[in-house]
């Protein structure tokens, strides 16, 4: 599989006397996958995200994006085009006075000709289903809508990967669903690689691969099924388990033996209603 991001032996600290925020992190992102990085606050996951588009350059190790090293200043703008990033606070990343201006902002920065810009603007607004709001001002939009505009601004740059840096954590459940649904479509139908940084395990359950981080280190890596086989570890590092996993464990303690394949609520419901079935 083609690797679009390769992180090897990366260590980073913010100030000389501080402990390492990232401690010898090695990982890679495959083209077209949905990778989730989970971890408690302060586990270094957001710092890692900022390493991936060259917002910060690690003191040790190297980060390569689509073949470019982030240490090399000459590639930095191309790297930032290839790695789109949606941040946590919907308000603090909205630059333009209207939706249209905001989506165009990234394209203007990268010097995309005006005619192309207009085409891509319409296209990307359609992809996130915000075409009706092109002239709206940010304070008239909901948090979820603002995040969708941020996604449109990134998609318009035709990136390799979109990083969601806790992008849903400030949204209401409705907004969260909108964002996940939008990203899922982009991932499945348009082959866009997604790296989701989150502490919401419900969200991570549906990804292709999960990385667990704690105190600057990658402690586990694997498919959701593998990761949730040992829920104790996740609880130990302070993460809140998805409802389905919690319930399954409680049922197991009561002597109702369930297979550990159920990760989502739907899986669990299916398993429960077929439990006594002999067919």
């Amino acid at each position: 599989m083609e690797k679009i991001i390769e992180v090897s032996g990366v260590s980073y600290f913010y100030a000389e006397d501080d402990p390492w925020v990232l401690d010898d992190v090695t990982l890679s992102v495959n083209k077209g996958e949905w990778l989730s990085i989970i971890g408690h606050n302060g586990s270094g996951k957001s710092t890692l995200a900022k390493c991936l588009n060259g917002l910060i350059v690690p003191q040790k190790g190297s980060v390569r994006v689509g073949g470019f090293d982030t240490k090399d200043e000459t590639n930095i703008w191309e790297i930032r085009r290839l790695v789109g990033m949606v941040f946590q606070n919907p308000d603090n990343q909205f630059v333009g006075a209207t939706v249209r201006d905001d989506v165009a902002f990234g394209m203007e920065n990268h010097g995309i000709p005006r005619e192309k810009m207009i085409d891509r603007l319409a296209q990307s607004l359609r992809l996130v289903k915000m075409e009706k709001f092109a002239d709206s001002e940010p304070h008239r939009l909901s948090g979820g809508q603002k995040q969708r505009v941020a996604i449109a601004g990134i998609v318009a740059l035709q990136p390799l990967i979109v990083i969601l840096d806790e992008a849903t954590s400030m949204l209401d459940p409705e907004g969260r669903r909108e964002i996940i649904k939008t990203m899922r479509t982009l991932n499945k139908e348009h082959g866009l690689t997604v790296l989701s940084i989150t502490h919401d395990l419900e969200e991570a359950v549906n990804s292709d691969r999960i990385l667990v981080m704690n105190r600057g280190k990658v402690v586990r890596e694997g498919s959701p099924r593998e990761i949730f086989k040992t829920p104790e570890l996740l609880e130990k590092i302070g993460l809140d388990l998805p409802l389905a996993i919690k319930l399954r464990r409680l049922l197991n303690q009561r002597g109702i033996s369930l297979q550990d394949t159920a990760l989502t609520q739907e899986d669990l419901v299916n398993e429960l209603w077929t439990l006594r079935s002999t067919m």
């Binding site: 930032r80 990343q93 006075a97 201006d101 920065n109 005006r114």
Partner: protein, 268 residues
């Protein structure tokens, strides 16, 4: 509680709206200068008629503009009476104790009020018919020659458009903080002036803290989206200078000519 009229944009279809922001900015700039040529009744009537025509063309209702003017009524009245009481010349019209009102003072005061009025109407008309984005684009374009002497014209324009973009966000936040502080027993609306000023401090501190946080986040988001100053940047908005903009310039030249003529000929 917050009713901003200054800087409010009313999107509509009119000839004034469709003018290029550059021609509007130049016109307003010229207008503010040539207003000082008017020192006669005729010239002032010309100015008032020009404003009236502008308002009619913009299709913005007269009452709407007057409502906006209400907030500066105090300033207008203050200047009027200050001039009325403290200048002299001409026939003595009225004498009340220490107050003496002279004919010339009365005329001068009326002229000054008209001057303030037309300047404010014209600038309000600019912001009412031009979106903040267009104004900053126009300014950046007009000031672009100054880039040659290393003036940060682009940065200044960006700064302006971002602050305009964040006004509603910060107002919303202020209201939230007011409610939060009120819920904890803080009182902003009564008490002595000193106490009310004191109550504002716990409002401003969190507002500033969050504004700094926002600025930091925004700078990071902008960098992540490839912002690196003016070099190699393209633009979505293209300013187009049409014939109607040239016509607008002609009208301004005509207005200036009329005002100069009236002044030189010394009409009443």
């Amino acid at each position: 509680m917050f009713n901003l009229v200054i800087g409010q944009y009313v999107p509509m279809e009119s000839r004034v709206h469709r003018l290029d922001p550059r021609s509007k900015l130049i016109s307003v700039f010229l207008f503010v200068i040539i207003v000082f040529l008017a020192n006669s009744w005729l010239a002032n009537i010309v100015l008032l008629l020009f404003c009236y025509a502008g308002i009619l063309e913009s299709r913005i209702s007269l009452p709407f503009i007057f409502r906006g003017l209400r907030s500066i009524l105090v300033i207008i009245l203050f200047t009027f009476f200050l001039n009325l009481f403290f200048s002299s010349g001409g026939r003595l019209l009225l004498s009340l104790g220490w107050i003496h009102i002279y004919q010339n003072a009365l005329i001068q005061s009326v002229f000054i009020v008209i001057r303030i009025l037309v300047i404010i109407v014209v600038t309000t008309l600019l912001t009412l018919t031009t979106s903040p984005m267009e104004i900053t684009d126009g300014m950046e374009n007009l000031l672009s020659p100054f880039k040659k002497i290393k003036l940060p014209v682009h940065e200044f324009a960006l700064m302006m458009s971002i602050s305009l973009r964040f006004i509603p966000t910060l107002l919303e936040e202020t209201e939230k903080i007011i409610k939060a502080q009120a819920a904890r027993g803080s009182d902003f609306t009564s008490g002595s002036l000193k106490n009310r000023m004191k109550a504002i401090v716990p409002l401003l501190v969190p507002l500033f803290v969050s504004a700094f946080k926002r600025a930091e986040d925004l700078a990071m988001a902008m960098e992540a989206r490839g912002y690196h100053g003016d070099t190699g940047r393209t633009r979505l908005h293209k300013l187009v200078w049409n014939r109607r903009d040239t016509v607008m310039m002609m009208i301004m030249a005509l207005l200036a000519a009329i005002l100069i003529l009236v002044r030189v000929s010394g009409c009443w």
